[in-house]
Symmetry: C2
Subunit: 336 residues, 2 copies
């Protein structure tokens, strides 16, 4: 059994989100707390801009929950940069403890799952789970200097500039929270490697672990795929989503009717983004703004959020390794 259950139903009390100009031209534009007009966010480097976005998402989640910094017990965060410096340096500005995680683009689900597990067990009452990414910092770290103007192949995705954070709280006796969406279970994923070596084809690298994660979650919970109003995957993009649907279909599970991918929907895909968005910020922004809005308005009531990560580095690829994937699934439901 990979799935753990949260009988005390920790609530997602509030979220905070921010995204870049390109992202805000798409579906999330009217749902984020802050739509940047300048993706440098007033900073001198891409990395500092990424860190500042993450801090913004954290602070905004606290503010949207009508809480103060002193009310928060723990921050769980990570990001794509080497040694997760965005998360570590964001955490430096707050007076609460920090638990650093790394799951590449699966970080939003991983941090949400740990937060829910800790709140459900009564260890802490209020935890923030957050992550983000920046197109320009990711591009120069993982691929080439932007100034080189490299051509992107058609299977490529575009790293999202944005950040999102969620405040997970014990409902306690607080009736104000009873309508907030609850995290009811989580399925931590296995590392799966089907041998993809193309660093531009993240969707293909991540879809096997995503498929296995969803199937495992359904098996552990005894649910059919249509139990969920929506199965939202992290950032497989258009190609990865097609592979995912094929892989699950091969195992007798049809998710074509209720599946959507954050990477596939975030951009108005016209030209340069090709397969759609990627990056830890992709699912963080889409989930914490657009999806959470629909959960709060009860347009969605049962959502399986499956953020997916490609576990590579420039060193691993340079040494000839293929790209393992991971996917963590978190069930979010309106429970009353």
């Amino acid at each position: 059994m990979q799935t753990i259950f949260f009988k005390n139903k920790p609530r997602i009390v509030a979220t905070g989100t921010i995204a870049g100009p390109k992202e805000c031209a798409g579906v999330v534009g009217k749902y984020v707390d802050k739509a940047l007009t300048d993706d440098m966010f007033g900073e001198s480097t891409y990395e500092k801009a990424e860190c500042k976005m993450l801090s913004y998402a954290i602070s905004q989640a606290i503010q949207n929950a009508r809480l103060e910094e002193k009310d928060v017990d723990l921050l769980i965060s990570g990001d794509l940069l080497n040694q997760i410096i965005s998360a570590s340096f964001a955490a430096r500005d707050y007076d609460f403890p920090f638990l650093g995680v790394y799951g590449a683009c699966s970080t939003m689900a991983e941090s949400l799952a740990i937060a829910a597990a800790f709140v459900n067990a009564g260890y802490y009452k209020k935890i923030i789970a957050a992550t983000g990414s920046h197109f320009s910092s990711a591009e120069r770290q993982y691929r080439y200097p932007l100034e080189l103007g490299n051509t992107r192949p058609p299977q490529a995705q575009w790293t999202v500039t944005g950040a999102g954070g969620a405040l997970i709280a014990d409902m306690g006796g607080d009736n104000d929270l009873k309508n907030a969406p609850a995290i009811t279970s989580a399925t931590f994923g296995k590392v799966v490697d089907y041998g993809i070596t193309d660093v531009n084809n993240m969707g293909a690298a991540m879809s096997p672990s995503t498929s296995l994660g969803i199937l495992q979650h359904l098996k552990d919970t005894g649910r059919n795929a249509d139990y969920y109003d929506l199965i939202v995957t992290g950032d497989l993009g258009a190609l990865g989503s097609r592979i995912l649907k094929d892989l699950t279909w091969e195992k007798g599970v049809d998710i074509t009717g209720n599946h959507v991918d954050c990477g596939e929907i975030i951009y108005k895909v016209i030209e340069k983004e090709f397969q759609g968005g990627s990056g830890a910020g992709c699912s963080a922004v889409v989930f914490n703004s657009y999806i959470m809005d629909k959960l709060k308005k009860r347009e969605l009531n049962k959502v399986l959020f499956v953020a997916t990560g490609a576990l590579l580095s420039t060193v691993s690829s340079g040494q000839g390794e293929s790209i393992p994937g991971i996917a963590h699934a978190v069930a979010i439901e309106n429970v009353e």
Copy 2:
């Protein structure tokens, strides 16, 4: 309250450890499961050797617990390499879920604490917490190519080549486990930055967060420092340990009588290691071999294990950032 308590007393059932030739010339030599004579461990790159050591520690912990891979519910691991590739690629070889964490050299305590929290809450029955590091992979990632033969300044530490893993289990009705050391509480640390910018002086960068972490743990638990037979810090080295003792003494707490630092004791410091060992593998090897041996033999009964991390990257330092530190504290006690 930063400290969380584990009333079900999850046990450290077994550990697995491996270390390089230089490390095994020191105190851990006769306690590790495998003492390497060749720090390449038969691999073609330092990174692959580091990953293989981590896999060895994981498999050895399972074997020493007289369990099989199928009995393990979850692996919690991370390491110093960009995108924690040692942990991710080690996890690829096992058929259990993986939760990736990053806390630099605090990873052993962070992963132990999460494992204990999950087992205590009944989410999983058997979890492995593991980490490691390799001198040569760390040196070329964080500092200079080894071939350059750079001079090391006297405040420098030496990254440990080694890995350690612990299997944390619910005691359940298993009387065989009742004598195993228990994890009784954990204190997640805050990110603290006193403005150190010297990337060779990790001990100074980490000692403020370590001091605050220890003081917070003692406050939350209502204990005096002498409650513990030993307060073992991660890898502050000789200079960092002196700073730590000064900082805690300034706050009225004297730990000079029962403090030891994994970095300070791991090498027979003669010449080139200067302040001692560092790296995620430092506290992982010392704790899981030497300290656990003394706990199992009841030569020690109450240990506070405080692994410490310096949260920098080459990019953050290159952009003029100072070095924040973090320390997570885990209490391990013989409870009956």
